[in-house]
């Protein structure tokens, strides 16, 4: 006894599907032109929108950074005055003449009344 090969059914099924698909396929002219409002045509809109978002974010970062710099410059830094601050206000040559030997800072401080002995 022979059984029907399902592959024969497959051929018949595909033949019927082919006819039905041909009737339902969009026309050649329509596909050739491209669908109006298709995702392909809208893709450039998507990239423009994405680019705008990125550009806006970059501008916001730049503005935010510059604003921060200006605020920082407007604030006077708080400095604690110390006993040796006068050295910063002296010309370098004057400082070198006043402190001739490198490393003998303690003696210099004592001579100028800035050593521990001068503090009571």
């Amino acid at each position: 006894m022979t059984e029907r090969d399902p592959i024969d059914d497959l051929r018949e099924f595909f033949a019927l599907s082919r006819d039905a698909d041909a009737a339902r396929a969009p026309s050649f002219d329509r596909v050739r032109r491209g669908r109006a409002g298709s995702r392909l045509r809208r893709r450039w809109l998507m990239w423009v929108a994405s680019g705008s978002v990125v550009a806006a974010a970059a501008v916001a970062v730049v503005i935010g950074t510059r604003g921060s710099d200006e605020r920082t410059a407007a604030v006077e830094p708080v400095r604690l005055r110390s006993a040796t601050d006068f050295l910063l206000e002296m010309a370098p040559a004057t400082v070198s003449a006043a402190v001739p030997r490198i490393g003998d800072v303690n003696d210099w401080f004592t001579l100028n009344g800035l050593g521990k002995e001068s503090r009571t």
């Binding site: 399902p6 592959i7 599907s17 082919r18 698909d21 050739r32 392909l40 998507m46």
Partner: protein, 170 residues
């Protein structure tokens, strides 16, 4: 090939090309139309040229397959951005079984085909639906003929198993 002849050939093969495009787009008819449009644009603008090394149909189907792959890859990248908000829902295509024939056998065939691997289903589609030879199907899929024949034989055998066919007695 002259542009007019090229366009005439494309129009002649359009229904079969669309069916293959739907197959490559996993049943998404909207995307299939876009893919086919892109393939036509590539061909008619001369970006790809038919050099006569294979049958025109085989060459066209290869272009459609590559275009579908490129679109699929691009769609994955776009879905990471805003692309997912632009995607259209695929048209709900009417069931062939219900449109053509409501016999139980057709429904069983469709279910069995859905259970095959993609490569086996593609090969059977190209051979039975598109009437290509195994060698031509290999050209379309970019595989070796031996590999395609293996998929073809295994696909048929799997169908027989799924449909519960008994061994033929000749």
């Amino acid at each position: 090939m002259e542009p007019r002849d090229l366009e005439a050939q494309l129009e002649l093969l359009h229904p079969l090309g669309f069916a293959w495009s739907v197959r490559c787009c996993r049943g998404d008819r909207v995307q299939a139309e876009d893919v086919l449009h892109l393939a036509y644009v590539k061909i008619l603008e001369g970006r790809v040229k038919f050099e006569g090394r294979s049958a025109f149909k085989t060459w066209l189907f290869g272009i459609i397959r590559w275009t579908a792959y490129e679109q699929h890859r691009r769609g994955w990248v776009e879905s990471l951005w805003l692309g997912r908000w632009w995607r259209e829902w695929p048209d709900p295509a009417p069931d062939h079984a219900e449109t053509i024939d409501s016999e139980k056998r057709v429904a069983q065939l469709k279910q069995a085909l859905a259970r095959l691997s993609k490569k086996q289903a593609d090969v059977l589609h190209l051979v039975f639906y598109q009437d290509l030879t195994v060698h031509e199907a290999a050209e379309v899929l970019g595989m070796r003929p031996g590999t395609v024949r293996t998929h073809y034989e295994r696909g048929k055998e799997r169908l027989r198993v799924l449909l519960g066919a008994k061994e033929l007695v000749r």
